[in-house]
């Protein structure tokens, strides 16, 4: 046991008492007080803090919902409606949770756009990116599980469609599907395990978020120029400079999410989910939640079921390899005149895939989905590795202070 000789002294004796036994005070001071942030970081750098707050709000609202919710096929729909009608402010908690899920994805997508555009996933932050994609993957699973819990028509049929995908796996597919469902069809066993997993996965996410945040604090945040911090002059302290920016960003976010929660709480919901689940009636269009729609479009883009499943899982897996697929040493797209537009087109492509994912897979929609899928993989597998070989990049600034002063 190493004797800690350099215990930091605080004026407050209580803080000293804690610090001597667990140096958490100096840790917080170092990581959230004096922590250096590149001073040119724009508002895209506020989404990480925002996401942490959303995660905590989702966990708390979820715990309160779980106190009233009954995970049984005959009672789930009704207990959800009891929350809406008879629990004090139950409607508020549920609308915060359901719209919070949508906004969680909106902000996560913005956070990822930031990372891809400014090259935050590159050396030395690759592990951070891997944690991030893992969180995103777990979020999708958690959101899908949560979508099934109200046991409306869309809940039931989305669960049926998604679990059916596993039956496309050769030889063992059908067994895997039954193992996942706990029954031959989506039923009470399925609802029970989905509820159990929906409750536990957010805590797994919370753990990975802790790693994600700890990892970014090792080398510090990236910034819009993609040039690493060289001197303390390039940075500002987190407190109060970044905190006030994050607070301002969160206020704007608060206005937007309040407008939706209070004045259009079902804008991002499917009307069919207010009809109780009925295994005998299939809805005209089975649609996933909008934030999963791009992957649903990829799934349906090929006529072969197994092919679609492989492409869909591939489209998520390929994200993990991005730090090694993009060969450019230059981080920020601001200094990559060609790749910049390809990246923006990729964002638009993902958006269009989401749009067609909510539409029936016929005619022009199907064609758009196919073109969209081709560009999705082209971007990762061809453009990211090859463009750096031919691209004439702009001159990088010497330091962050150079860019900041120039503005």
């Amino acid at each position: 046991m190493k004797k800690n000789t350099e215990v930091k002294k605080y004026k407050n004796s209580f803080l000293n008492w804690i610090e001597y036994r667990l140096p958490i005070i100096s840790y917080l001071e170092r990581e959230y007080g004096d922590y250096p942030m590149p001073k040119n970081a724009n508002y895209f750098w506020s989404f990480g803090a925002m996401l942490t707050i959303i995660l905590v709000v989702m966990i708390f609202s979820g715990i309160f919902l779980a106190m009233y919710y009954t995970p049984h096929v005959d009672m789930a729909f009704e207990s959800t409606e009891r929350i809406m009608r008879d629990v004090s402010f139950g409607w508020l908690i549920r609308y915060i949770h359901s719209n919070g899920a949508s906004f969680f994805f909106i902000v996560v997508y913005l956070h990822m756009v930031r990372s891809i555009y400014y090259g935050s996933f590159k050396y030395p932050r690759e592990l951070n990116w891997l944690f991030g994609v893992t969180i995103y993957l777990l979020m999708m699973v958690t959101a899908f599980l949560g979508y099934t819990l109200p046991w409306g028509q869309m809940s039931y049929w989305a669960a049926t469609v998604i679990t059916n995908l596993f039956s496309a796996i050769p030889l063992v597919g059908e067994s895997i599907k039954i193992w996942l469902l706990g029954d031959y069809t989506v039923g009470n066993a399925t609802l029970n395990r989905f509820f159990a997993l929906h409750y536990v996965l957010p805590f797994v996410i919370l753990g990975i978020v802790a790693l994600h945040v700890a990892a970014v604090h090792v080398h510090g945040s990236n910034n819009p120029s993609g040039v690493e911090v060289k001197t303390p002059k390039d940075t500002v302290k987190f407190f109060p400079y970044m905190l006030i920016k994050d607070t301002l960003a969160f206020s704007v976010f608060g206005i937007i999410i309040s407008a939706v929660i209070f004045f259009g709480p079902n804008l991002m919901a499917e009307v069919d989910n207010y009809i109780p689940a009925d295994p005998m009636v299939t809805p005209a269009h089975i649609v996933p939640n909008w934030y999963l729609a791009p992957f649903y479009a990829i799934l349906r883009a090929v006529p072969d079921k197994l092919g679609g499943v492989v492409l869909m899982f591939g489209s998520i897996l390929v994200l993990f390899f991005l730090p090694w697929l993009d060969k450019s040493k230059i981080k920020s797209c601001s200094y990559r005149p060609v790749y910049k537009w390809m990246t923006i087109l990729f964002f638009a492509d993902f958006f269009i895939l989401g749009y067609v994912g909510l539409k029936p897979a016929v005619g022009t929609y199907l064609l758009m989905a196919r073109v969209g899928v081709i560009y999705y993989f082209l971007y990762f597998l061809v453009l990211a590795p090859l463009v750096p070989k031919f691209e004439k990049t702009s001159q990088l600034p010497d330091s962050i202070s150079d860019v900041y002063g120039a503005k």
Binding site: E81, L92, L248, S251, V252, F262, Y274, I352, Y365, M368
Partner: protein
């Protein structure tokens, strides 16, 4: 690049509008004025009470509303005594009693709205095989919500020449696919109003829709009231943060 984006957007709109035509045919909804719309919208309780009368005398013959309790009627301006009287007009099966027998008793305010049928099978049998949907959430579970419902109720018409209507089905301009299993439920003067409001088809449909919107979203008024406070809070908080940010960052160079 911008041109390309604009073109894509334009193309999307064109494609979207042409594909819409392939979906089930229905007239475009005629928008109505509703008191609950807008950020300060509130319920028109007189209209909701009349709509409840329409529901009780017409809709309730076939449609259940089993997410509602008689006690909920206090929200739309009925007194506890009035609610007791309304509830007592219905019969529920309770039990078992001390002898182990189920028995019938008048409903109480703490009971759910009584179902018109004993079970789904009876409901289907009485309605030509079609199941009359529960109306508790009807405005939330249909695209178009209140306007859809109003248009549907007033949208019955003579079967259009050449349209293919199934056996026992009725023609309705606003039903997707134009055929509906429910015969026209409301006509002029179907229900007598006590307060002298004209009881033509449009008024009956309007009042009933108001009632069903309340039934689906009883929290609407409270939600909008709190919403204004929540948004104001974030605006004030945001303005303070904005000025503090400007002040702090002035020193950074």
């Amino acid at each position: 690049m911008m041109n390309k984006l604009l073109f894509t957007l334009f193309a999307l709109i064109i494609i979207n509008s042409s594909l819409q035509a392939e979906e089930l045919k229905a007239e475009k909804l005629k928008k109505q004025d509703w008191s609950f719309e807008g950020i300060t919208g509130t319920f028109d309780r007189a209209s909701i009470q009349r709509g409840f009368k329409v529901y009780r005398e017409v809709c309730a013959v076939c449609h259940s509303m089993n997410l509602l309790y008689y006690r909920d009627l206090i929200d739309i301006g009925f007194s506890p005594d009035q609610i007791k009287v309304i509830a007592s007009e219905y019969t529920v099966i309770d039990g078992p009693n001390d002898e182990g027998e189920m028995f019938e008793r008048p409903a109480r305010p703490s009971d759910r709205f009584v179902d018109p049928y004993r079970n789904d099978v009876e409901a289907r049998l009485s309605n030509n095989g079609a199941y009359p949907p529960d109306l508790s959430l009807i405005t939330k579970s249909r695209k178009g919500g209140a306007d859809y419902l109003y248009n549907l109720l007033t949208g019955y018409a003579e079967t259009e020449e050449g349209s293919d209507i199934g056996e026992g089905m009725y023609y309705n301009l606003y039903m997707p696919g134009n055929q509906i299993a429910m015969p026209q439920p409301l006509y002029d003067e179907s229900v007598e109003y006590d307060d002298g409001t004209p009881n033509n088809l449009n008024q009956l449909s309007y009042d009933l829709t108001n009632f069903l919107v309340w039934a689906a979203e009883p929290e609407l008024e409270e939600r909008k009231r709190i919403g204004i406070i929540a948004i104001l809070f974030f605006v004030v908080f945001g303005v303070f943060s904005f000025f503090l940010k400007l002040r702090l960052w002035k020193k950074v160079s």
